[in-house]
């Protein structure tokens, strides 16, 4: 039992506070508890991007892939994009447009890269077909 809750009940038992007052105190305590518990059990920032490929129940091929890439490495690797020559960036843009992705590769800034990696934290991809593919951060 929570220490504060115990004290309130003891005060009630000793007649120091009324039932209404005890109820108010307990409700105030319970409303403040989820926040503090959330802080304690709050997820720490993920460190790795995990890719798991496992054969499905009907799969004939029994290939398995288990890759764990540190997010720091992704961040560092993406910074090398600055070294891609201008003409190659144009080719990348063209290839993206052919796939229906309207993105100007040349306009990606370091802040955008940071944003991309930060957003990866919430990424979870589950695909179940012949193979079971899971992509997530941990």
């Amino acid at each position: 039992m929570n220490e504060d809750r115990k004290k309130i009940l003891e005060m009630l038992a000793a007649g120091k506070i009324s039932v209404e007052e005890a109820e108010k105190l307990l409700s105030a305590l319970s409303s403040s508890q989820p926040d503090s518990q959330g802080e304690l059990s709050g997820k720490s920032a993920p460190k790795y991007l995990r890719v798991l490929v496992e054969p499905g129940p009907k799969s004939e091929v029994q290939d398995r892939v288990n890759v764990r890439v540190p997010l720091k490495l992704i961040r560092a690797g993406l910074k090398w994009a600055a070294f891609i020559p201008k003409h190659a960036q144009g080719t990348v843009n063209q290839a993206l447009q052919e796939k229906g992705i309207e993105l100007d590769f040349t306009k990606i800034k370091p802040e955008d890269i940071e944003e991309i990696v930060t957003q990866l934290n919430d990424l979870t991809v589950d695909v179940e077909g012949k193979e079971k593919v899971r992509v997530f951060c941990e």
């Binding site: 892939v65 288990n66 764990r68 540190p70 560092a76 070294f83």
Partner: protein, 90 residues
């Protein structure tokens, strides 16, 4: 932290292969090579500062270090019916 050990395990239908390689030795060689190449890089930066990749070249060493220091924790595992390849940096 920079990875100190690389574990490599290859298992095939025949005999397997296991390697526990202290990559820290490799980093020492890389560092030595980087020191040797530094003057050439600086000359390259000077010549290409105005029209070329000069400023970007200056970022090569910090970027290389950031990649090396981020390798720790990298883990690959591939497996099929016949072969299994495992590699990790710790």
């Amino acid at each position: 932290m920079i990875p100190l050990i690389m574990r490599l395990r290859i298992q095939g239908s025949g005999k397997g292969f296991r390697l526990l390689f202290p990559v820290v030795l490799l980093w020492i060689l890389v560092l030595a090579l980087m020191i040797v190449l530094l003057p050439f890089l600086l000359i390259g930066v000077l010549f290409t500062w105005r029209r070329g990749p000069g400023p970007a070249l200056l970022a090569i060493y910090p970027l290389l270090f950031s990649v090396l220091f981020s390798l720790s924790g990298l883990h690959f595992e591939f497996e099929n019916a016949k072969n299994r390849i495992f590699m990790s940096f710790t």
